[in-house]
């Protein structure tokens, strides 16, 4: 009884921490994705702005 007890206790702890670890990993991946998207959008905006500035100077 005791050996099986230990085995299940180990599984229990493992399961609990696995769930938390998986969640932390999803948070990390989401952070990376959001940072990537933020950089992309910022680049897009600065490209658009420099394009517009170039056009204004050209018109002048």
């Amino acid at each position: 009884m005791d050996a099986r007890n230990f085995e299940y206790m180990f599984y229990g702890f493992l399961a609990a921490w696995l769930v938390v670890l998986l969640y932390v990993l999803t948070l990390v991946r989401r952070s990376a994705r959001l940072n990537r998207e933020l950089n992309d959008v910022k680049q897009l905006i600065s490209a658009q702005e420099s394009g517009r500035q170039g056009l204004q100077e050209h018109v002048r």
């Binding site: 009884m1 005791d2 099986r4 007890n5 230990f6 299940y8 206790m9 599984y11 229990g12 702890f13 399961a15 609990a16 769930v19 938390v20 969640y23 932390v24 948070l27 989401r30 952070s31 959001l34 940072n35 998207e37 933020l38 959008v41 910022k42 897009l44 905006i45 658009q48 702005e49 517009r52």
Partner: protein, 228 residues
């Protein structure tokens, strides 16, 4: 500043958990009737309480959102629900494993288990709903409504089944029974773990709500880019 607070909370949580793990495995004796498996209680119960408290915190935040219409409350509520869901799932899994040894079954329909499962179902629906809506105000409104109805529902489930016979072990914490049901050393570790889990939850919530704010920022920048 925010990163430092998050790291501080996480570090404190890890230290407390390390200390409690040491206590649980090396210091505390085996329980008289259950053997080694009882040690699961030190994560099962704090996770359960943390999850439940989280849902009611989300309820308060949802009401605050509906009255003030500030999206920061919605971001925070969503983060709290998500982290509470993680701890509720931990609660259900650890409880199920414990039950397999002690009662011989993986599951039973007593009030605490049923209300925990209903909670998980409702708030999984909450997360699915949030994914399905792109417009932030509509998403916030709907999430707030679902949280309010969901929390009331869980209280009804809990109370209604509590009136009947239950298989789950009764209260052991001395704040509810007045002492004598649990070894004080064990109870101390239980409270310690609860604090540790709350700190961990707080750190995760801070990270998650920051991500929500960033996502909204990206959304508004995209709209600006499209408008230009």
């Amino acid at each position: 500043m925010r990163e430092r607070v998050t790291i501080g909370l996480a570090a404190a949580a890890i230290l407390l958990l390390a200390y409690s793990l040491y206590q649980i495995f090396l210091v505390l004796p085996d329980e008289a009737m259950q053997g080694a498996i009882y040690r699961i209680i030190f994560f099962h119960v704090p996770a359960a309480i943390a999850g439940m408290i989280g849902y009611f915190v989300a309820l308060v935040l949802s009401i605050l959102y509906l009255s003030s219409k500030q999206l920061k409350f919605d971001s925070l509520a969503a983060s709290v629900v998500e982290v509470s869901l993680v701890f509720s799932i931990v609660n259900l899994i650890t409880g199920s494993i414990w039950a397999r040894i002690i009662w011989g079954i993986w599951w039973t329909w007593d009030y605490r288990l049923t209300s925990a499962l209903v909670c998980v179902l409702i708030f999984c629906g909450y997360l699915m709903l949030r994914q399905a809506i792109t417009e932030p105000t509509q998403r916030a409104r709907l999430s707030a409504a679902l949280t309010i109805f969901g929390c009331v529902d869980v209280v009804i489930v809990y109370k209604s089944i509590e009136w009947f016979r239950t298989q789950h072990p009764g209260p052991v914490l001395s704040i509810r029974t007045g002492g004598g049901h649990i070894d004080p050393a064990m109870e101390r570790i239980l409270y310690l773990n609860f604090v540790a889990i709350c700190l961990l939850a707080a750190a995760l919530i801070l990270v998650r709500s920051r991500q929500e704010t960033t996502a909204r920022e990206i959304d508004s920048l995209r709209r600006m880019a499209n408008a230009m």
